[in-house]
Subunit: 273 residues, 2 copies
């Protein structure tokens, strides 16, 4: 999927919402008996009208072993078949030596057929570049994450005063431009989005942490929005587990619709038409 | 598995060899038709007498989707059933926000039943600590990797002159001691193992990069060995794909046996008896 297609979908749906498909068996209605795909199918149908992207995180599938991995495959195939305009992100945070990253890239792009994968930067260029060799596919590189542990290494400054997360942004721009790379920047650090935008003015940012993790959508837009929107904002638990009862899909649709309405207002306010 | 049990196996087998189970379908004999588990079973039986650990890398299984994931599960179960003294490492390089890392930890320790997982440090303490809550299970944290890209971020020094990989070693020692944490240090950086040993004198190190990636076993031992051995040295391609013909298992046994013989000499030389 190209950057232009993503922007077209944002305009069409008046939304830059990504729904995180991280189903927690303990929060699913008992009638589903832990069937991840059955749960996802209802969530997808309920929220697709309000979203431009889905982001299943592999951890929530691998916990069921090969059966869970199959549910991941079914989920991707279902979205692809029924909602071909939706951008599918495998949230995997992979990254390994070159020949291993090539295998991971083939896993997600050839075997699964998703549009994008999240990648961890610790091992540097040759761990990331194998994911960049696919036309129309995207790397979403971790830069500044929304969790407490981001302080341990990401915020540490080098001899020139540059924190690691900024170095990740500047160094990785030598590997690919904004047509095949995006960055993860957590919403709990919204005020730092202004600095992010100085460094990567044209890249899309995947922003997790709105909702359950406490980030504010207005703040994210204020500091991070661009003329091409440039934002894909993710909400997982806040949508898919808004209810743990039989009404989970209806409640998920409601939460997604509320976020979409806020996003439509922001797109109008910032004149991204 | 405890540190004492690992050391006992090292003494018993006179080996600190880990065989990397990273089967590349293109390098397997055609008769196996890409059957990862069938390949692994022969490799495991052929090399287990010479090795104390096996390290399957998930990338090489996920490339076949759910079927490959099932082959990973079968591989782990086969080792567990037939060679219960072998230390099994899921080479996964995972790491995510806390509730997601908890899912990954459950995936590898509860569902798969391996002894250890490799984890990437970029997201900091709360991305690693969920893996540390299992008795007898291990985190093997990436510190200094063997690839070119390690220069991009790992070798960058902070304002006090401390490179990132050293900070990872020192900071992470506050999270767990040498009874449940190990570190990945690439063999292509053998001379830096002396510095590693100043910082983590008692931890086991998982050392990839001997063989195909060019590291020297003698150099690794000279700079990295401790009185409790403290080393698990991995070889993947150099053993499992020593031959791409029908004699692959015999050739793998031969390569593993050669490395084991070298290791026995080193254990004797350094008086680890």
């Amino acid at each position: 999927m190209t950057k232009e297609q993503i922007l077209e979908n944002i305009r069409l749906k008046q939304s830059f919402l990504c729904v995180g498909l991280d189903p927690d068996m303990a929060k699913m209605p008992p009638s589903l008996r832990g069937d991840l795909f059955a749960f996802n199918r209802e969530i997808i149908d309920a929220t697709a009208p309000h979203a431009i992207a889905f982001k299943p995180n592999l951890a929530f599938y691998e916990v069921q072993g090969a059966r869970g991995y199959a549910a991941f495959e079914q989920t991707v195939a279902y979205i692809r078949d029924h909602y071909p305009d939706i951008f599918i992100i495998a949230d995997a945070k992979r990254g390994d030596i070159g020949n291993t990253s090539r295998m991971y890239a083939s896993s997600v792009f050839d075997t699964l057929g998703v549009d994008a994968i999240t990648v961890a930067p610790y091992m540097g260029e040759d761990s990331v570049s194998p994911f960049l060799g696919y036309d129309g596919k995207w790397v979403i590189l971790l830069a500044l994450t929304s969790n407490m542990g981001s302080r341990d290494f990401q915020l540490v400054a080098d001899a020139e005063g540059t924190p690691l997360w900024e170095r990740v942004l500047t160094t990785s721009q030598q590997w690919a431009d904004s047509s095949r790379m995006m960055y993860v920047v957590g919403a709990t650090k919204a005020e730092m989005l202004s600095r992010v935008r100085e460094l990567v003015p044209y890249h899309f940012l995947l922003v997790p942490g709105v909702g359950a993790q406490g980030g504010s959508l207005d703040e994210v837009a204020r500091h991070g929005i661009t003329r091409e929107c440039g934002l894909i904002v993710n909400s997982s638990r806040g949508i898919i587990h808004a209810s743990s009862g039989e009404d989970f899909a209806r409640k998920a649709a409601q939460k997604a619709s509320e976020l979409q309405a806020q996003m439509a207002q922001l797109l109008a306010y910032y004149e991204i038409l």
